[in-house]
Amino acid sequence: MRDKETGSCWLHFTGECVMGRYAGHALALVPTSLLSWRAFRTLYPQATVIGPTNPLWRRLLGRIISNPPVFVMPGFFRRTMREPDRRLPESELGLGLVIRQRRASDSVIESAERFYPRRPVRGAGVINDRIGDIPVMIASDPWSGSSVAFVAVMDGRELHFRPAEEGLFLDETTGTLFDLAGRGVRGPLQGRRLHPAPSISARWYGFVTTYPRASIWIAGG
């Protein structure tokens, strides 16, 4: 994307400016999550939603783009990309985590990226994983199949989750039920909140283009 004020070009994935006057600068990333409308209005009843005030043709086009019956990569778009990474189909939807840690030995910041394909995560309901030294939990929204990710640590204690009631997840360490916003809703940690893990909902081709060294979570792996 490009800002009109200076014509600088920015990566929407990372907020980094890669060309122009602001090259080397970055926009501050705002944590987001991708949820079903059902889950969102349950979790945040006092929230707002943008209304359908844009032109009808854009709304109709948006329905197709956001949920295409068949994903087609335009030929001229492919000309701007490197060779595809065929570890997954390029259209595969999933959640990509980007974890950065400062190495204790020399304070160098290391980055590790992992892609969680949507379908196997949905099949599992919740994933307990570790990226570097960081325990993470990936939970599936039962109404849309999208995923959210949290750091699975609270008060220095590692938590371990399994699916419970619809849209809720049980931490087996404390017996606390958590929701898709990472909030403890019942049990010893009620009222506490898990810290979101840095993540982005994306198709495989977009995530691996930005993070070519990304690993892939595999069920049973």
């Binding site: 994307m1 079903s36 943008i50 209304g51 999208s146 283009t209």
Partner: protein, 81 residues
Amino acid sequence: MATNFDQGHLLLLEEMGLPNPFKTWRYPGAIPLSSARFLADRDEVLCVERGGAWRAYPLRLIAAHHIVQDQMQDQEVLVTF
């Protein structure tokens, strides 16, 4: 949030003399959840929090723009698809 077009692609369109089909949606306006009867339970929404307030950006509304420029709690936000 991923997009189908990266920056190189947008520049390529301009070099080819083609219009950019994705026009930024500026300050779309927000409504209470109870007024949003156009959404189904399974519809996906991008959820953004600023200053304690939450807002949903339905993917099927924003997809044909790819960029939404909005304001929440007096803070400027850029939502990208």
